[in-house]
């Protein structure tokens, strides 16, 4: 059967974007920076956070006043964080489906993974696009170690650029090595403390995920 193609009339499910990375690299800080930027561009948004045994990050985002708290859902992994984003992402899929039911116009759902190691990746069943956030404080050798998270993600974010001088990291070679292990696929630098580099992340999402440009 040939269905009629209708670019305007079809109601499409929200794009699901994963944010993974090591403990404390700045995943929640990135979410907190992305929310106002995305809302300012008129993007209908919701957030899911994953924590080990609490709803700590969800509570933090709900309290931030950046977004309607009802649009923030928490998933408690109960085990290694990667199990609920890769091996069995059903809890997160259910949370995303639930947000789509409650907010029918939602265009984008950000899914923050619990802090994990460099091997963590997202299942394609869960996310359409995923970012991996590492930080300068972890050392400039992180990209060289070719962790699957670093290599396979759709967008690698190197956060905490402001710390580079304090931890003896040179940003240019670190960026060059990251691009090298990723065969030139995108890498962006951010400073979530000051909000630097956030626009470039939003632009990447608008182009590759939301198809706005």
């Amino acid at each position: 059967m040939i269905a009629t193609h209708d670019a305007k009339g079809t109601r499409m499910a929200a794009a699901r974007v994963g944010i993974g990375g090591p403990v404390g690299s700045g995943k929640t800080a990135l979410v907190e920076r992305l929310i106002p930027s995305l809302l300012a561009r008129g993007i209908d948004l919701a957030v899911i956070t994953n924590d080990l045994v609490t709803a700590e990050d969800a509570e933090r985002i709900r309290r931030s006043g950046l977004i309607d708290p009802a649009r923030v859902s928490a998933v408690e992994a109960g085990a290694c964080p990667h199990t609920v984003i890769r091996e069995d992402p059903s809890l997160n899929i259910e949370a995303a489906d639930d947000l789509e039911r409650r907010f029918p116009g939602v265009e984008l759902i950000l899914i923050e993974s619990g802090g994990d190691n460099l091997a963590s990746t997202f299942s394609r069943d869960l996310t359409d696009f995923w970012m991996f956030v590492i930080d300068v404080g972890g050392g400039d050798d992180i990209p060289r170690k070719r962790g699957p998270g670093v290599v396979r993600c759709d967008l690698l974010v190197i956060n905490k650029t402001d710390l580079a001088p304090h931890v003896g990291v040179e940003l240019a070679p670190m960026l060059a090595q990251a691009l090298d292990v990723r065969d030139g696929r995108p890498v962006l630098l951010t400073n979530c403390r000051k909000g630097e580099g956030i626009d470039a992340v939003v632009s990447a999402l608008e182009r590759d995920v939301l198809f706005r440009a």
């Binding site: 040939i2 670019a7 079809t10």
Partner: protein, 149 residues
């Protein structure tokens, strides 16, 4: 940007085949080569072999398969293919061999590109099936097969 949502058919569906045949005659078939490891994606942006920028999304329960039809309208079709485009490069020995090869390639509806004095055949199946079609030219040493570097 061509915004595409959902799979509208498969190139092997009889109904699709007859419509594709018409589109093919007008050179309107475009292939979207999806790298094998990206097959599970439900949303992606990729250019077709003719350079059309496609923004594709699927329903959550849809699975992209090789040959899935993503667009068919206005004399144009977009079909998903998996893997990198395999090619077969042929250099004719002289002008008369080139005329012969060009004549066959055209009649066989092969998809081709020209690289100077080399004809690049974009393969949609095993090379041997293509080789068999012009076996006589190959046997007569009129063509040089160039291996990919």
């Amino acid at each position: 940007m061509l915004r595409l949502h959902g799979i509208v058919g498969h190139r092997d569906d009889p109904e699709v085949q007859s419509r594709l045949h018409h589109v093919e005659h007008h050179g309107g078939i475009e292939f979207l080569f999806v790298p094998p490891h990206e097959a599970g994606r439900k949303r992606f942006r990729l250019a077709t072999d003719k350079g059309t920028d496609c923004a594709v999304s699927l329903e959550r329960d849809e699975v992209l398969t090789d040959g899935a039809l993503l667009f068919l309208a206005h004399g144009r079709a977009v079909i998903a293919r998996f893997g990198e485009q395999a090619v077969w490069r042929l250099r004719p020995r002289d002008a008369s061999a080139a005329l012969g090869l060009g004549w066959h390639a055209g009649n066989l509806h092969w998809r081709v590109r020209f690289e100077g004095d080399v004809l690049v055949v974009l393969l949609d199946g095993p090379t041997d099936e293509y080789r068999a079609r012009i076996a006589h030219l190959l046997a007569a040493n009129l063509l040089e097969e160039i291996t990919d570097v």
